[in-house]
Amino acid sequence: MKKETILTLFITGIAVAFTGCSDSSEKQIESTSKNKSPQSAVPNSFAEVTSKLDTNGDVFVYYSTEDVIATIEKYAETAGAQAVKSIEAGPMEDAMMESGMNIGKAMYEQSGIKDISGMGMSSIELESGMFRNKMVIHHDPEKSNGKLWSLLGSEPHEIDMLKFLPEDTALAFSHEINLKALLDWLPELIKAAGNPMLKQQFDQSIEMANAEMDLTDLVTSFDNEIGMFVTLDASQKMQLPPPAGEIPLLGFALMAKVKDDKISDLLFSILENTTGPEIEKKTVSGIEMLVVNEPVPMPIPFAPAVFRLGKFLVVANTEDLAKQIVATQNGSKKNLSSTEEFQRLAKDLELKANHFFFASEQVGSTMSPILKQAMNAGGLPEGFLGLDSNDSYNLQTLGVIRMDTDSIMVENHSQNGLFNSVMMQAGVIPASVGAGMILPALADARERAQSISSEQ
């Protein structure tokens, strides 16, 4: 009896575990399929790509790119060769054009673009107002020599920059780029040009750069990560020129990860020897920094502070922000990761990655009145298309890019779906703001032109 009970519990447990698994949103496409489709007679990367995507959402796309890339390659090669032939130029220009073509060809050959076997994307609403968007660029793991697969990072890792971001960070991004590998690639490309004169010029330039500022050492000193963030302090306000008007106090900082002091020493020495605004060396919470004492006249506060913090070289727009960054890093102030908004966005998102980007709800709420003013200036009625809601402009998103052994994976959590995110952030909002700002100006210009013409 006891054995039977244990066996029953065991089987039930396994059944429950499997049932639980099947309800996961990470379902692969095969498992949701009711109809069993035949395998493709022409090999493709369908299974590899779609296993990384979410089914049952609003968007699901897989596209095999191999034959498309090969076709484009054929046309590009023929058109490029013909274009060079058709241009009438002297022997020098001909040689330069041939070198350019050879470099372009070598770049393409070595970039890894031709190794891309397929692309996929998906978008699913995980809970009300929270979408997970994914995009995959796949390549055969055995074809990983392309520069594309190594220049932008090699293995996902913790995002170090997160430790530095103050809790009022509104916008942030961090990117990985292997400058050393890029610098090593350049001589290969120049060699591929097959132009000894070009190679000589390049070698001389590198020699000069090394003699003047140890370029190779500086590049080696750079630790492949660069980032930027913007803070919006709602407790303080600042004025921007119309139509922007009053917005929360804006701060920003640039960060670069370094292996040693070479880059910071060079920057410090340049700043100390610069004639212009007075620069003071200060120590804040044990961190030595160079601070510009006299603010530069700009619409946003700008009296930069430059300092080395941990493995990062930081340039903050003001000393106050520099202090805030130091306090955040040493834990005496809350960081972005502790905020409710970040935690909601980061839920179930693997933050080990090579690239990172974040935009808070504050970006939308700050832009919203500006956009509304721009649209009102264009003569649109109040509440037109329901655009009076602050939620309409909410662009909050948290995303990462991971360089995996067989793919580049872009994954983000956002308030909007894939299309809306891309369209809103890259196209519609800039276009709307542009239209709102430019059209009244154009109308004024036209009226002025008409009045001048009628005066004459």
């Binding site: 496409i29 022409v42 498309v68 484009i72 519609v428 276009a431």
Partner: protein
């Protein structure tokens, strides 16, 4: 208010509204993913699904706002207050909303596409438009038929057919749609009620199927004189003939045509072939192209009325109807449709011969193409020579509309890339020709 501002800014705002997600719903709505993707082929080179429900909702809102703006009595409204275009704008805006509502577009709940290599040189492409039938009816779901059926038209199509396009077309559904719009926009007026009696007779006699076919005869070459096509040499290609086909109830339409022809310049000559009265229309002048047979005829064969460009094609159609030389006996057609359920609402077919024939036409433009584009265009032409025809079926049922295509190449991959490249080449060629024409010299040309 500047009219440009008045129109452009709402346009931008509409785009913006269109793309703002409906993130304000209480919980994520179930999508049509399963309903759409179960109709598609997984494992292929393309597999795509888009949930259109939210987009349609945004489209509704966008349309309401724009119509409201266009119809507003605001003194600054440049459209409504213009004495010339105001009434026209008012009429159009009154009709737009009912036209959209009755079209059935808002019932599109999702769209999917797939492309799978069934064999090395046989690809199956599917496009499915899913219908959310709970949202009622609409024109697009009725116009192409409501249920797939046997394609009786195939009994009429000769084996040497190069191009065929035939589909259900419910004109009565289209007219009902027009009437419903008219009634809503004008407060009860019906378009069909006030139409002439002959028009109603034709509508009543039409039996919801219409098509076009073109045959190629490799044994008979037509010669286009070089001067007609700006070429040094005459162009020789397979002779062609074409026919229009409509399914009818009885021979009412045929009688109407007979009446009209007999009162015209020359009465048709009647020949009886296998029990069918073939009416040949005499031409006033011969066609000056050697090998091109233009001897129009029309006839009724069973439920179909045919208008053919040559009497020999007319005869081939009648013979096909009598079981001799049908398209279904053609090896290329059989190969493309192998394992394909031909029950559908429409079919389109392109034979390998037709592909080669159209390449010849494309080669005509090669003569006028600059040298630097010729090599690239050659890649396109050579690729097209490999295409061994394609066939598409359209199937409309309560779940939506499915378009299934069989071809020897991947239409959404390599073929698409070649087509895009050829368009780019043709555009490049056109720009160059425009530039050389001197029309744009004042603007500095395109250089």
């Amino acid at each position: 208010m500047n009219p440009i501002r008045k129109i452009t800014i709402p346009f931008f705002a509409c785009c913006m509204s269109f793309f703002i997600s409906s993130a304000h719903s209480s919980e994520p709505a179930k999508t049509s993913f399963e309903a759409v993707t179960e109709k598609l082929d997984r494992n292929g080179h393309l597999f795509a699904y888009f949930n259109t429900a939210k987009t349609m909702k945004q489209l509704d809102q966008m349309m309401d706002s724009l119509l409201e703006l266009a119809q507003s009595n605001d003194s600054a409204n440049p459209l409504a207050n213009n004495p010339f275009i105001g009434p026209m704008v008012s009429g159009i805006t009154d009709a737009i909303k009912p036209a959209y509502e009755e079209s059935g577009i808002s019932q599109i709940g999702g769209v999917g596409m797939s492309s799978l290599a069934v064999k090395k040189d046989q690809w199956r492409q599917k496009t499915f438009i899913y219908r959310d039938s709970q949202k009622g009816d609409g024109l697009i779901w009725e116009m192409f038929g409501s249920e797939p059926h046997s394609l009786e038209i195939l009994e009429l199509v000769p084996a040497q057919t190069g191009l065929l396009a035939h589909s259900d077309l419910r004109i009565s559904a289209l007219m009902d749609w027009v009437d419903r719009i008219s009634e809503k926009a004008t407060g009860g007026q019906s378009v069909t009620a006030s139409a002439p009696a002959e028009f109603k007779d034709i509508l009543n006699a039409f039996d919801d199927e219409v098509g076009f076919m073109m045959t190629l005869d490799p044994n008979k070459q037509l010669k286009i004189p070089g001067f007609m096509i700006q070429a040094e040499e005459d162009l020789e290609m397979d002779s062609f003939a074409f026919a229009l086909i409509a399914r009818t109830k009885g021979d009412k339409i045929l009688s109407m045509i007979n009446e009209a022809m007999e009162s015209g310049f020359a009465p048709p000559q009647r020949t009886k072939i296998k029990g069918v009265n073939l009416n040949s229309i005499p031409l006033p002048l011969p066609i000056p192209i050697e090998g091109l047979d233009i001897s129009p005829c029309y006839f009724q064969v069973d439920d179909y009325m045919v208008l053919a460009s040559s009497t020999s094609l007319g005869k081939s159609i009648i013979e096909a109807k009598n079981g001799k030389g049908q398209i279904t006996e053609n090896d290329d057609f059989k190969s493309l449709t192998e394992g394909l359920d031909l029950k559908s609402n429409g079919i389109s077919y392109m034979s390998p011969n037709f592909t080669n024939w159209s390449i010849k036409l494309n080669e005509l433009s090669m003569g006028q193409m600059p040298e630097e584009l010729k090599d690239s265009f050659d890649i396109y032409l050579n690729y097209n020579k490999q295409i061994k025809g394609m066939v598409s079926l359209i199937k409309s049922d309560k779940d939506g509309i499915m378009l299934e295509t069989r071809s020897s190449v991947n239409l959404t991959g390599e073929y698409l890339a070649h087509t895009a490249a050829s368009i780019a080449i043709i555009l490049g060629n056109s720009v160059q020709q425009f530039n050389e024409s001197g029309m744009f010299d004042d603007l500095g040309g395109f250089e």
